[in-house]
């Protein structure tokens, strides 16, 4: 970015709450059903129907509020946001306006080794709209109301971010948090976690904000970063060329990597918000708050700290291993079952297992190697039954078969050779065959030591105990 300019970014994130039924009806929220098969008379906005609030959505919103140290409104109100659109069955969306359920809170993010606090202005409950489908309808539009009425928690940040990188860090942090709290499945492809970004620029040092543009519906971390960066550049270029930024809503086109205008402020709807007379205000009692607080899971920050202290992990490992509750649980399970040093468990999970999962595009919960079998591998490495190198071979078998590590080691004959007699015999043969190299080592070329270790390992098909090999080699070469 041009050094004279500073960007100001605020995010509105729509998280779909993982309730079984919709926010104001008993219809299922399961994703991917045939169009309109999960649209009950309430989802359809039939004449005479009334909304009834899903308590689970309220609990999940309060859970979120507590996790970001926010004020929970003792009294909040649902309001109608009125506008016409075919996938909005009632002609209004039930949302919260003046009195949202979650008030001011914050989230700390880490960017380039520094911690920054990002304010959360509010989070409010609302119902999702349906989907308009414009393809395959021969010039007409199709409407699928399965999603209509799905509970959303819209989380609005303060304009506290200054770079796209910070915005992504905030979004990731929030994504991690809502999954930790198990209030949202975080599935971005299915639209469970969507982002609108408000972006403006101002000359560095200026206190007032510039005019902002809102970029709608960005559904990946990568696109958020690209869209914001693109928008910042567009605004700076516009101003530097003598133009002015207009307040408008823009769409990010990921194919062309650009944002384009959707509607200007003048064209914006007057939503005519007013309290929904069909719903009573929501009262959150202190008892409910304490009950939810008592059931609040350990949050990522706390868990990371505990992992560092209890398991002696470095910051990087602790961060990776607490990136989701599933990963953390897997790690703790492996430590418990393998009875061995936590750092070895950490290294093998963050190393070999993570890489394999990434390659296969799998979540740890879908890992072909469960914690029990993985613990079996780590235990054999820790007790020197196999070397790290052989461990990688065993890992491959674990990944591709259902056998235990012990069975694999046994069947494949991978057990490490610690018999010093056997190692000595092999070393003697190799030293004889490589007289010249041995002399070089003795003359001070220390690199040659590695050459000999390699030769011995090769001769022993990787099964030699490295410590023993080193020890004996040192003696024989001296």
């Amino acid at each position: 970015m041009n050094t004279q300019w500073e960007a100001v970014i605020g995010l509105e994130i729509h998280t779909q709450l993982a309730t079984k039924s919709k926010i104001f009806s008993g219809a299922s929220t399961t994703y991917g059903a045939e169009p309109n098969t999960q649209a009950c008379i309430i989802s359809l906005g039939m004449p005479g129907v009334l909304p009834v609030l899903n308590e689970d959505a309220v609990r999940k919103a309060v859970t979120f509020g507590m996790a970001i140290n926010a004020e929970i409104a003792p009294y909040s109100v649902f309001a109608r946001k009125n506008y016409f659109y075919p996938d909005l069955p009632k002609g209004y969306q039930i949302s919260q306006f003046e009195l949202p359920i979650v008030g001011k809170g914050f989230l700390d993010i880490d960017v380039d080794g520094e911690t920054k606090r990002i304010g959360v202005t509010r989070a409010h409950l609302e119902e999702d709209a349906g989907k308009s489908l414009h393809e395959n309808f021969h010039g007409l539009s199709g409407i699928d109301l399965n999603r209509a009425g799905t509970p959303l928690l819209e989380i609005v940040s303060e304009p506290d971010m200054r770079t796209a990188k910070e915005a992504v860090a905030y979004m990731r942090k929030l994504h991690e948090l809502v999954r930790y709290l198990e209030i949202c499945d975080g599935n971005m492809q299915e639209g469970s976690f969507r982002c609108d970004a408000n972006v403006s620029v101002r000359p560095k040092g200026q206190a007032e904000f510039g005019t902002r543009a809102e970029i709608k519906n960005i559904n990946s971390f990568k696109f958020v970063e690209k869209a914001i960066n693109h928008e910042i550049e567009r605004q700076i270029e516009l101003i530097e060329n003598g133009g002015t930024v207009v307040q408008e809503t823009r769409l990010y086109d990921s194919v062309k990597d650009e944002t384009r205008s959707m509607r200007s402020k003048e064209e914006a709807n007057d939503y005519r918000y007013f309290p929904d007379p069909d719903l009573l205000p929501v009262f959150i009692s202190d008892e409910l708050k304490s009950e939810i607080k008592a059931h609040l899971p350990e949050l990522p920050e706390e868990k990371k700290l505990r992992f560092k202290t209890d398991y002696h992990l470095n910051d990087e490992s602790a961060t990776i291993l607490t990136s989701s509750r599933d990963v953390a649980n897997y790690f703790e399970e492996v430590v418990k079952l393998s009875h061995c040093e936590s750092t070895i468990c950490a290294n093998w999970i963050t190393g070999e297992l993570s890489a394999a999962l990434n390659r296969a595009d799998l979540d740890i919960s879908d890992s072909p190697i469960d914690a029990t079998r993985f613990a079996g591998l780590v235990a054999r490495i820790a007790d020197d039954t196999i070397s790290g190198k052989i461990g990688k071979q065993v890992f491959e078998f674990l990944w591709n078969t259902a056998d235990s590590a012990d069975d694999i080691i046994e069947k494949q004959g991978l057990k490490q050779i610690t018999d010093t007699g056997a190692i000595e015999a092999i070393i003697d043969t190799i030293l004889v065959a490589n007289e010249k190299q041995a002399q070089q080592y003795r003359d001070g070329n220390e690199k040659m030591f590695g050459f000999f270790v390699g030769q011995v390992m090769k001769a022993m098909q990787g099964k030699g105990n490295p410590a023993e090999i080193n020890k004996i080699l040192k003696i024989k070469l001296s």
Binding site: M46, P47, G48, V49, L50, N82, F84, R272, D278
Partner: protein
């Protein structure tokens, strides 16, 4: 089978003097004979006769309720599964409801026989039943006069005995005013007493379902089966429903009846004032204490009502967009055309007027001055009533300034039409129960008196109405329909 109360008919059914099928057929014949009243939009004769057969079986088996086998009808605002539910509008002329309103479900469970769906002002917006897409309902006492509205079909059906008892809804007087105009009894219970689920919304914070019949006692019997908490309606109230007939015959000795001086002014027609004075005398004779009270904020009720009701209706009626059900214009050019023509062609003038007023009142920059202010006024009015009920048990007032006016007379002047609801509207703003019972005739047309009760005190209200009906016979008069 005519001129009988629900209790008398239930006895006749049990004594096998007549069957429910015979009784139902008798009412179906009357409905057909007096179609000129235009009380019904839809008559469900076949379903009614089938229901009557089932009722006869149930009565014979000995587990019948009071309403089992009694022919009644619903205002066409209540959704009835597999039956056309129009709300008096062209918009829903093709709408077959896919479900039953809670009120319909509850009454079906009693074994009551539903004869059909009753005419009403379009979306319950009107005071004369003239805004109905299906045409005005004629007043059975004088076919040139309006039946009142919006439950005009309901009131006319009871007066002409085209049903024993009926459901109605009341947003600003829609049960009480037509009841007064047609000489029948009607009760609008406390807001939250009767479920609104399946009752097509006009103004959600004011709408309330109730019962209409030829006596307070019959209103009580019907209301008993309609009332109660409903998990499907968050604004329904979870308190037990008392036995509404238990206190009907209680003495009125010592009961304090309040007369709000703001309601007894020169605006009340002289003949009307005389009829009301006579009713007050009856109450004195029954042992009630009459006390003048003051409710200074009542004068703001009409403007506050029209802001709030219009605001809510502008939003409630947004779902009629031609997309999923109801009327759709032909060959829409695009989405905007679909909306504007579907709504433009299917909504009537009064509905459009209120949608426009409500949209305006909620618009950015006007919200505080209209909607918010109206809500403040609403609270002041509620406070006035709270104060009044600390002094009296029941409030007595006119229902309407005049008897029924002629069809067409006030159509050109909406404000004059709105003023016809001056005595009833404040009660909806406060959410209180109230009823209208016949109190005499002026020029051959019935007039009513209004009784207003404290929250959830329907039992007392029905007691005070019933006591009056034990010493008067206005409510047993029947119009001559054959002239």
């Amino acid at each position: 089978m005519q001129n009988k109360t629900i209790t008398q008919l239930a006895q006749g059914l049990r004594a096998k003097e007549f069957s429910s099928v015979e009784l139902t057929q008798y009412f179906l014949n009357r409905i057909e004979k007096y179609t000129d009243l235009n009380a019904y939009i839809t008559v469900t004769a076949n379903q009614a006769l089938q229901a009557a057969q089932r009722a006869d079986v149930r009565i014979a088996s000995g587990n019948a309720e009071l309403l089992t086998g009694i022919p009644m009808a619903h205002k066409d605002i209540f959704c009835t599964q597999a039956v056309k539910t129009t709300c008096g509008s062209k918009m829903l002329d093709n709408f077959i409801a896919p479900y039953n309103a809670t009120v319909v479900k509850k009454l079906n469970a009693t074994g009551a026989v539903n004869l059909g769906k009753l005419n009403m002002d379009e979306f319950a917006m009107g005071s004369s039943n003239e805004t109905s897409f299906y045409g005005a309902v004629k007043n059975p006492w004088n076919k040139n006069a309006v039946a009142g509205g919006s439950s005009g079909g309901s009131a006319a059906a009871v007066a002409a005995q085209l049903a024993v008892c009926v459901t109605g809804t009341d947003t600003g007087g829609s049960i009480r005013q037509p009841a007064a105009f047609c000489g029948v009894s009607g009760i609008k219970p406390t807001y939250g007493r009767v479920s609104r689920f399946g009752m097509i919304a006009y103004a959600s914070s004011l709408d309330q379902g109730g019962s209409m019949a030829r006596s307070a006692q019959d209103c009580a019997i019907l209301l008993q089966s309609m009332a109660g908490f409903d998990v499907k309606d968050s604004t329904s109230v979870d308190t037990p429903v008392p036995d509404y007939c238990a206190d009907l015959d209680k003495s009125l000795a010592g009961v304090k009846i309040g007369l709000p001086k703001e309601f007894f002014t020169a605006d009340v027609n002289a003949d009307m004032a005389k009829a009301l004075d006579e009713a007050i005398e009856e109450y004195k004779k029954l042992g009630a204490e009459i006390k003048e009270i003051s409710m200074p904020n009542l004068k703001y009720a009409i403007p506050a009502y029209y802001v709030i009701a219009s605001a809510e209706c502008s939003s409630n009626l947004s779902r009629y967009d031609g997309v999923r059900f109801g009327y759709r214009c032909e060959n829409p050019a695009d989405l905007n055309d679909l909306y504007t023509r579907s709504r433009g062609e299917a909504f009537g003038k009064e509905v459009k007027r209120r949608i426009l007023m409500g949209t305006y009142a909620l618009s950015a920059g006007y919200y505080d001055a209209y909607y918010l202010k109206a809500q403040q006024v609403r609270r002041l009015i509620s406070d006035d009533f709270k104060q009044a009920f600390s002094e009296v048990d029941v409030i007595f007032s006119p229902v309407t300034p005049t008897p029924a006016f002629n069809i067409g007379e006030k159509l050109a002047n909406p404000v004059e039409m709105y003023l016809a609801d001056i005595y009833t509207i404040a009660i909806n703003l406060a959410g209180l129960p109230a009823m209208s019972i016949p109190a005499g005739f002026i020029g051959g047309l019935p007039v009513g008196l209004q009784l207003i009760g404290n929250y959830f005190d329907e039992t007392r209200l029905l007691n005070v109405a019933h006591a009056y009906q034990q010493v008067t016979n206005w409510h047993t008069q029947s119009p001559n329909l054959d002239n």
